[in-house]
């Protein structure tokens, strides 16, 4: 076995040079054992190419289907001939699972590719400094911009964050620090709350704000709808983070004579700080792209609206929705450009949450 001979005897080395012995993997297949698999794979590709060329099956779809069927068949026969039926079942299932995993990656790759291909050409510096108030909807993309939507999105998300931070955090503290009688129920309902359809959140705010209180469309109403969707994410992530704080820290605080409130405020929360920030940013990433609740609450606008508490406003998802709904060529282009900007915003939040979350370890 090649792996054994590569492992040098340890005593012959310079003692200053720390020699870490390479772990042995005697069960690992040698190149010679892998040979039939390699030939099988190459053979499958060639065979499916030939089959697609000579048979009525056509195109990439035909090739993929033939390739899957052939690879299953060939892998099964190789294992069956060399070993037994169980080995054949094993290699067939392995190939199926590899294909399934590959098919999961496919749509993501396609989405990212299309966003860049269709969204990037419409980008310009000017669009970040202009709104659509004096631009016709069928004007070329060099005119007008999406500043109003960007600012609107910033407003709704910021306000939603301000509302959900205290509620989400208090919920998490209740579940981990107070551990009251109702904590089982609360945890269950928070889980259920993360399944509330976004349109229902929008309808609820509409029913409260517009019907019962007689208000009109504005940014704050939209942010309340988003807060409903954001609270469970913040609460659940924060709970996970607080659970990781060692009980020793809490007990040390209490043993030094601090009250529970001081222990939580001065020991537990500072220790969990980066994790809690991650929780909030994850929530933000979740709601930044929400469309349905905004359709019912912010009203839409083509001009800038700096006042979040009065008057209609737009938001990036709303901008995309509106331009898509026009059904025109330029509308579609604007929608894709809007999606590009929206995805960049969401990914920025997502990356920050990732980096912070990993730093904590």
């Amino acid at each position: 076995m090649s792996t054994v001979t590569e492992n040098k005897p340890q005593g012959s080395n310079d003692p200053n040079q720390m020699m870490v012995p390479r772990p042995l993997k005697p069960w690992k297949a040698t190149p010679k054992q892998l040979l039939p698999d390699v030939f099988g794979a190459i053979g499958t590709v060639i065979a499916s190419l030939i089959l697609v060329l000579v048979s009525p099956l056509a195109g990439i779809l035909g090739f993929i289907l033939t390739f899957i069927v052939l690879s299953l068949f060939i892998a099964a026969s190789i294992s069956w001939i060399r070993k037994d039926r169980k080995a054949a079942a094993n290699s067939v299932s392995t190939i199926i699972i590899y294909f399934l995993a590959a098919f999961v990656l496919l749509p993501v790759a396609s989405i990212v590719f299309e966003i860049i291909r269709k969204g990037a050409p419409g980008l310009s510096i000017g669009m970040f400094f202009d709104d659509m108030s004096v631009t016709a909807s069928d004007a070329p993309l060099s005119e007008g911009g999406l500043l109003h939507a960007l600012v609107g999105s910033l407003y709704v998300v910021a306000l939603a964050t301000i509302v959900s931070i205290p509620i989400g955090l208090l919920t998490a503290l209740y579940l981990t620090e107070v551990k009251g009688k109702a904590s089982g129920t609360v945890r269950f309902f928070v889980q259920a709350m993360s399944g509330v359809p976004s349109i229902v959140a929008g309808l609820f705010i509409y029913a409260v704000w517009m019907i019962s209180l007689g208000g009109s469309y504005n940014t704050a109403a939209g942010s309340l709808a988003l807060a409903i969707l954001m609270i469970p994410t913040v609460a659940r992530t924060a709970e996970e983070v607080l659970k990781l704080i060692p009980t020793d820290l809490r007990e040390a605080g209490l043993a030094l004579g601090a009250t529970q409130w001081k222990t939580v405020a001065l020991v537990v929360i500072p220790a969990a700080r980066s994790g809690l920030i991650t929780a909030v940013i994850l929530g933000t990433a979740r709601v930044a792209g929400e469309t349905a609740p905004l359709l019912l609450t912010v009203g839409g606008n083509d001009a800038m609206n700096w006042n979040p508490f009065s008057g209609n406003n737009s938001a990036l998802p709303f901008y995309v929705w509106k331009n898509f709904g026009l059904g025109t060529e330029t509308g579609a282009e604007r929608a894709w450009t809007g999606i590009f900007v929206l995805m960049v915003v969401v990914m920025i939040f997502f990356t920050i949450a990732r980096v912070l979350g990993n730093k904590k370890g």
Partner: protein
């Protein structure tokens, strides 16, 4: 200070020893507890407000609100009387939800198995990242991608299915209308529910006792027989719970479905035909030009949607909590 008042220099007076929470703690606990109850309150308020607003519609329509197919707003110039029924929409919601599950579930569980037992170390992290990114993609992006990118391909697939399996009633095609069908909406939903099912399944598979896995290997099991005899029996419940969570998400999905589905107020058995339904899409579709009474009917539809998703989520979470989070 100590020179002025020598008595105090002996140190601070001993702390009062008591098990009673201090005043500040009682306030703290009160605030945190009431904050923790807010989510209960919000859920209660949602059902209360939607039910209250839809009450008149529930009264006038009765049970036919969920069984009849027609959605006709009152119109004075046409002389039509209002009739609201979401039966077709409810049916359509379930159909696209199950189509989504049909395609999404094997992919998601396959990916979870791959990540847990097959993937080489270097591939694990990037692939988990991709699945997480998938969960962060907004639904409107899925909607537009489904409309502009997936639909042209999916129509071709639908034609192939119809060509070879057209003799089965659900794949038959009365006309030549393949676009915006429940099949395509289901495909978009399948992609959208993959991340949630994958992450729950991974969580479930991680709970499989390692000694059983090693025992299976020691007895000479191949990787697949180990999965079949250890991982699947242990994780079955949790994975089913994950699938139900995915179904709940599919039922409540609005924007992505609305962009790729043609709403028709009728129950059609053909899934490839351009005619489907979705309660959430109905709300978005009718909301813009709804009159006051129609708006109340939409609230009632929202209430039904809320109750259905809540029930699905309750059951799913109960199953998952039982199998995963308590060991």
């Amino acid at each position: 200070m100590s020179t002025v008042n020598p008595v105090k220099s002996e140190g601070p007076t001993p702390r009062e020893i008591t098990t009673e929470p201090r005043f500040s703690d009682r306030i703290f606990r009160g605030i945190v507890s009431s904050g923790g109850m807010i989510s209960l309150l919000v859920l209660g308020l949602i059902s209360l407000f939607l039910f209250y607003n839809g009450l008149n519609v529930f009264r006038s329509e009765g049970l036919s609100f969920v069984t009849s197919f027609e959605w006709i707003a009152e119109s004075i110039e046409n002389g039509t009387e209002a009739s609201y029924g979401i039966g077709a929409m409810l049916y359509g919601t379930l159909v696209i939800g199950f189509i989504g599950l049909f395609f999404g579930f094997p992919l998601a569980v396959g990916a979870a198995l791959f990540l847990s037992y097959y993937a080489p170390e270097w591939l694990k992290k990037p692939m988990v990242l991709v699945v997480d990114v998938m969960a962060a993609i907004p639904s409107i992006v899925f909607g537009l991608w489904g409309f502009y990118v997936l639909m042209p391909h999916a129509e071709e697939w639908a034609k192939l299915i119809n060509k070879y399996f057209g003799f089965i009633p659900i794949f038959s095609m009365p006309g030549d209308f393949y676009s915006r069908s429940p099949f395509i909406a289901g495909l978009v939903l399948a992609v959208m529910i993959i991340p949630i099912i994958t992450s729950i399944s991974r969580e479930v598979f991680a709970q499989t006792p390692l000694d059983r896995i090693q025992a299976a290997y020691a007895l000479g099991a191949t990787r697949w027989s180990m999965i079949r005899s250890v991982v699947i029996p242990y994780g079955k419940g949790g994975v089913i719970g994950g699938a139900m969570l995915g179904l709940g998400r599919a039922i409540g999905e609005t924007v992505a479905v609305y962009t790729v589905l043609n709403l028709v107020y009728d129950i059609r058995p053909e899934v490839l035909l351009s005619a489907g339904g979705s309660v959430a899409s109905l709300i978005v579709n009718k909301f813009g030009e709804a009159t006051e009474p129609e708006l109340k009917a939409l609230m009632a539809a929202g209430f039904v949607l809320f109750m259905v998703t809540l029930a699905v989520n309750f059951v799913a979470n109960a199953i998952i909590n039982k199998t995963v989070r308590q060991g």
